[in-house]
Amino acid sequence: MKRDWLPLALVPVIALVSLPLVGSLPTWVTLTVAGLAMGMMIFMMASGLTLVFGLMDVLNFAHGIFIAVGAYGAASVLTRMSAQMEAQSLASDLSAMVPAVLAAVGLAAVLGWFFERVLIRPVYGDHLRQILITMGGLIVFEQLIHVVWGPDIIPLPRPGTITGSFIVGEAAIERYRVAAVIVGLVVFAAMWLLLNRTRIGLLVRAGVENPEMVESLGYRVRRLFVGVFVAGSGLAGLGGAMWAMYQEQVNAQMGAQVLVMIFIVVIIGGLGSVGGCFLGALLVGLLANYTGYLAPKLALGSNILLMVAVLLWRPRGLFPIGRA
């Protein structure tokens, strides 16, 4: 299959076009790093959604719940580890961060497994009921979060080593954003390797293209489904934890709040495409930051305008997946 490089040019084009508009190089660097960091976090939150859609033809409106639960999981650990967080050393920060991230991913993954098993399994192939059921799941689990963690917004401390910023040239760059970019790149690289270089990845990709064929070759697509769903939920949990640390607070509605943004990213990328999702997330993140600086009134709506523009150019998203 011939690689389609054209959409990839969009990211540098947007970044370069905005440089003269922003006017000053240090500001532009700061904005670009912020945009990339935001994009990486959006990618982590959205990638599970697009994979699940591509493989199982399920659009999970409750995906935001995994994001919120991941954030709450991380918050529960971090608020108990304030001692380690205050010691200004990388090792002690890590000793708080690693369990927090594990808690976020684990909690979201377990919830994802439960969700697939109990709620979604009976409604495969029925889009209308899928949308309704997952909306119902969103309502119920958002309320359950209130029951478990209480109704108030939880402030979330950030560990010392990734707080603050450093200066490169004249540009101030927040440490946390650099960390988010690194984590995002690692996740994307790992996903790419898993999907393109392993047997499981091969089966997943084949399952996206033609599930019946994979089944008839003797593989259990069902089991793959569950695995992908759980992995996607775990990723959403990770993304949620990072997003919450970025916002420095956790609330039960955060999943529903980012849901629209995630849908937009998934649509821009082409439903089911991981690469498209990554690209779409970066575009949305960059554009949000540039417009936030240039035309604050437009910033909130910028991603929707971007979606309209992309769909006018490519009605099925940047990298449409075989099955329509």
Partner: protein, 334 residues
């Protein structure tokens, strides 16, 4: 007479008839049976939401389309009245202008959304409408000189409508008329085609019905219904703001009402809206008692906390989708 009024679509169950009559009488005589500001507010909200939910049912239950833009049309109605009354003075002319402008705008947007995106699959339409609705919400909060931003608009109505009793009967009467109109629509040949599209779109197309045309028409009718509901709600509240009309929470409320009441049955909208609004206002009191009685037990008091009423409706919603696709109305008709 009755046949014509109900378009031949009778409740078809004794229990359902009794409940519907109770709701009708309760609403019609609300100012006299349930005096007090709170209960009159509840009654007006029920009337408005019956219409709002019934118009959504035209989409979801009868045509099989999931749209998340219904609150947008509800909001257009509300803001139409709100902006006209706040900026053009408090005369009848301004009110009429606001209403006409709101209906026209809704029709235009519904037509555009329908023609552009009803060709694609249900999931895509759901996402597009979600995006459009959230864009509209942003627009309303950003254009604060016109819309009052997050604070919304408080306004004064023409002299006659300031009388609470008159306003109530205007809201109730208009909602009832519009509801009967929707009943007429779903029981017309047009409504039959919508049902056939829901059941098997491929076959309907093969028989010779242009499904895009029918779906778009249903989308426009539902949008107009929601706009009328928005207009009535604004007239009742004398206020329009993002939280009363545009918020995603209201969209979720509508979904709950449609599904719990019964999809594809106009009467389900009546039951769903009544139960939901009553629960919203009175279930909390009940849960406060229950939660207090279970004080000391683990977790249970938290589950029954008055603010968790939505949890239980959500559970009911999920059970309805799985086991009672036609909701309460379907159960009563068994």
């Amino acid at each position: 007479m009755l046949v014509r009024l109900l378009s031949g679509d009778f409740p078809r169950s004794r229990a359902l008839t009794v409940v519907l009559l109770a709701v009708l009488i309760g609403l019609a005589a609300a100012p006299f049976i349930f005096p007090g500001t709170r209960s009159l507010n509840v009654a007006a909200k029920v009337a408005v939401f019956v219409l709002l939910v019934a118009s959504y049912d035209l989409l979801l239950g009868y045509t099989g389309i999931v749209s998340f833009a219904h609150t947008m049309f509800f909001g257009i109605g509300g803001y139409g009245v709100g902006i006209a009354m706040a900026k053009m003075g408090t005369g009848w002319g301004a009110l009429a202008a606001g209403i006409v402008a709101a209906l026209a705008l809704s029709l235009a947007i519904a037509l555009a959304i329908g023609l552009l995106s009803l060709r694609v699959r249900a999931i895509f339409f759901a996402m597009i409408t979600l995006a459009v609705a959230s864009f509209f919400q942003i627009l309303a909060s950003q254009m604060s000189p016109l819309t009052g931003g997050e604070d919304g608009l408080s306004f004064r109505l023409p002299e006659l409508l300031r009388e609470r009793l008159v306003a109530y009967y205007v809201v109730f009467g208009a909602a009832l008329l519009a509801f009967l109109g929707l009943l007429r629509v779903v029981n017309s040949p047009f409504g039959r085609v919508l049902l056939s599209i829901r059941e098997n779109e491929f076959r309907s197309e093969a028989i010779g019905y242009r499904i895009v045309t029918y779906r778009t028409a249903a989308n426009c009718l539902a949008a107009l219904g929601a706009t009328v509901a928005g207009i009535l709600y604004a007239i009742w509240l004398r206020y329009t703001g993002p939280d009363t009309t545009l918020s995603f929470n209201i969209m979720i409320d509508i979904l709950l009402m449609v599904v719990i009441g019964g999809m594809g049955t106009m009467y389900g909208a009546v039951l769903g809206a009544t139960i939901f609004v009553l629960a919203q206002n009175y279930l909390r009191d009940l849960m406060k008692v229950a939660s207090g009685a279970l004080e000391g037990l683990p977790l249970l008091p938290a589950l029954l906390h008055p603010d968790r009423w939505l949890l239980w409706l959500g559970v009911l919603f999920i059970l309805c989708v799985y086991y009672f696709p036609t909701g309460i109305v379907g159960r009563l008709r068994k």
